[in-house]
Each structure stands twice: as C-alpha cells, then as structure tokens.
Amino acid sequence: MNKHLIINGINSESQALYEELINHDIDDIIFIDPDIELVKNLNDSFDRIVAFYGDSISPSFLELVGINRENSETIFVSMTDSDAINLISCEIVKIKYQISRVVSVVNSKENLPLFTAYGISDLVFQGRSIVELIINSAGVILPMRLMDIQAKGTSVWSIKISPRSDIIGTDISKIKIPFRAIILCKIDSKGNPYQATENIDIAEDDTILIISSNRNEESMTRFFQGKDDG
C-alpha cells in the first residue's frame, strides 16, 4: 500500500526531516501549519504546493489534507513547539481516524508520561537521555517503570532515594503523597524488604516500589527527590 506523510508544524526540524525523507525516496509528504506566512514562504520555495494553512485539530481540515485518504496509509508526524498542539492533534488522528502510525515531538519532559498514557508512544524527545545523565549525575534519580498495567496507563514504579532527598527520615507508613499512588514496600540498601505499613523510616539508598499513573512520573520524581527544580 502507498504511504503518505502529514507533518504538523513548519520549522527547521520538520524541514530537515522532509529533506531526509526525500533522500530516502519517500516523497508523498505535506506540511500543515496555522501560520499563513510560514505556509506561503515554504510553498514559494517549491515548484508545487507542499504546505497547507489550517488548524491541525480541525477534523474538516485534516480530511481536506488527506488524513483519511483511501488506498494509502497515513503517517502523521506532529513537530510543533507546543506540546498541547502535538498531543491533541495526535489523539484526534489516532482515535477519530484510527491512524496507527502517529509520531510526535515532545518538548517538555514533564509531558512525556502524558503522551504515553494516552497511547501516543512513538515519541521524539532527543534531550531525554542526556538530561537523565545530567540529572542522575547531580544526585537526582528518576523513577524506573518496572511493569505496565496493561491498557490502564498505570505502572509499577521503582524509585531510589537519593542522598539529598527531603523524604529521608520519614516514616514510610505515614507518607502522604499529593497524587494518587499506592506505596507497596521499601527495600533497604542491603536488599531487605519492608511493608509500607511498617513503622520504619526511609533512608538514603532505599528503593520504594509504587503503583501510580504514568502521568505522575514527574510528580514522583519531585516528591521523592524533594527538589522543586529537579
């Protein structure tokens, strides 16, 4: 089956992607953007129409540009600098038009779990690995997802308590988490497990096991590392 791409957002990254795809003989590609000047300028640089002006969350506009084109598989790539536009447009494409090939850029790390929770899992967040490296070297350890509870957007998480965590010294049975989560247990630095109902303080290098929504990844990091700038 033929494939065609719709790229949401005109910017240097999406134009670089376009050039790369053309070099790989993928040439049925159009851009969409709500900025008429960007659309006009891009079209002026080609000898054919490659960009369309409109709102990427409008079904009638998406249909106009071929989101549900027959006899062709649509690949939707959202590359705007707004996570709101990227998420909402991808959800409409995925849910309303049942398009499975949906790729999105995520601009803020805080929003990564939100995209995955709502089924947008082909994500580009180039800064993630290097950001994690930097954060980890600074003593903040990010939560690790151990297991997905299928189709619920919820996971079992493991969080290692860093030396600078504000929660060190708090009785695990008395912790009040400001979002919906269940603490399963803690495992101390020697590997001994303790139930979350036991009156035992949290210590440096403990690992806490938690069930919570994937959307709470950022909140978990903040709460257990105790750093607002984390």
Binding site: I57, S58, A84, E110, F179, R180, S213, R215, E218
Partner: protein, 135 residues
C-alpha cells in the same frame, strides 16, 4: 466538595458564581495571571481562592489545589489548551474533569477518554450541578 476552575474568562466567572450557590466547600481559581480576578464579585467570598502560574505545568495545578479537587473545570483559552490541561489535570482517577470547548467537532474523541465536554456557546451549568449532587 472542592472545585478547581482553570481560567479567568467571563464564562469562568459566571460558572464560579453559579457553583457558589450550590453545596460547595471551596472553589479555587487559577490562571497565568490573577489580573482578571480583581474585579470579580465572588473574590470577596470566603470559599474562593485565587492562584496564578503557568497553568500548563503540573506544579501550578497542584499548588492550586488539584489534588483536593473533586471537580476540575478548564476554561482557560483556546480549545487545544483546554483539552491539554484537562488531560494533564486528571492525576486522580475519580476526579471529574469538565472541559469547555468552542468547537464541538472533536468532543466525542475526548469524551471517549473520560473528559466531560461543555459547549461554550450554550453553557449547561446543570450538567456540573448534577455531578455535584452525586457527592
């Protein structure tokens, strides 16, 4: 019954006034700025609090009382922002999220993932009051 209202438009003010007449313990309002709230009559109510900050960030929403909110209503600006913030605000499974939209053409998509959609051109406060009655 705690309600978090995200936004500071005329419709947000109207909703706040109507909801205060019901069995509500606290209404918190949050927007990027508190400027619009200054002239609201309900600013004098003891049940009302105002907050400001980047409403697309979870920190701002939590500091504004998101975790204690039974109902969240998003009326912050354009439809895209409202839908985004509405999903971001659903940190607890049992929190009811209302999102106010100008264009209802995508409402079924977002109702399918658990948001309750209100039409900005025909605001049915009754729909929210019905949810309050269930508590």
């Amino acid at each position: 019954m705690n309600i978090l209202l995200i936004g500071s438009r005329k419709t947000t003010n109207f909703l706040g006034e109507q909801l205060l007449k019901g069995k509500v313990d606290k209404i918190s309002f949050v927007d990027n700025s508190v400027y619009n709230y200054l002239n609201w009559d309900i600013a004098h109510s003891e049940k009302v609090n105002f907050f400001s900050g980047n409403i697309q960030e979870i920190n701002t929403l939590i500091k504004s009382g998101l975790d204690d909110a039974d109902i969240v209503i998003v009326d912050s600006g354009d439809d895209t922002s409202n839908l985004f913030i509405g999903q971001k605000a659903k940190i607890n499974f049992d929190t009811i999220i209302f999102v106010i939209l100008e264009d209802l053409s995508v409402s079924e998509v977002f109702e399918s993932i658990g948001l309750k959609i209100l039409n900005s051109h025909d605001l049915k406060v009754k729909k929210i009051l019905n949810e309050i009655e269930k508590f």
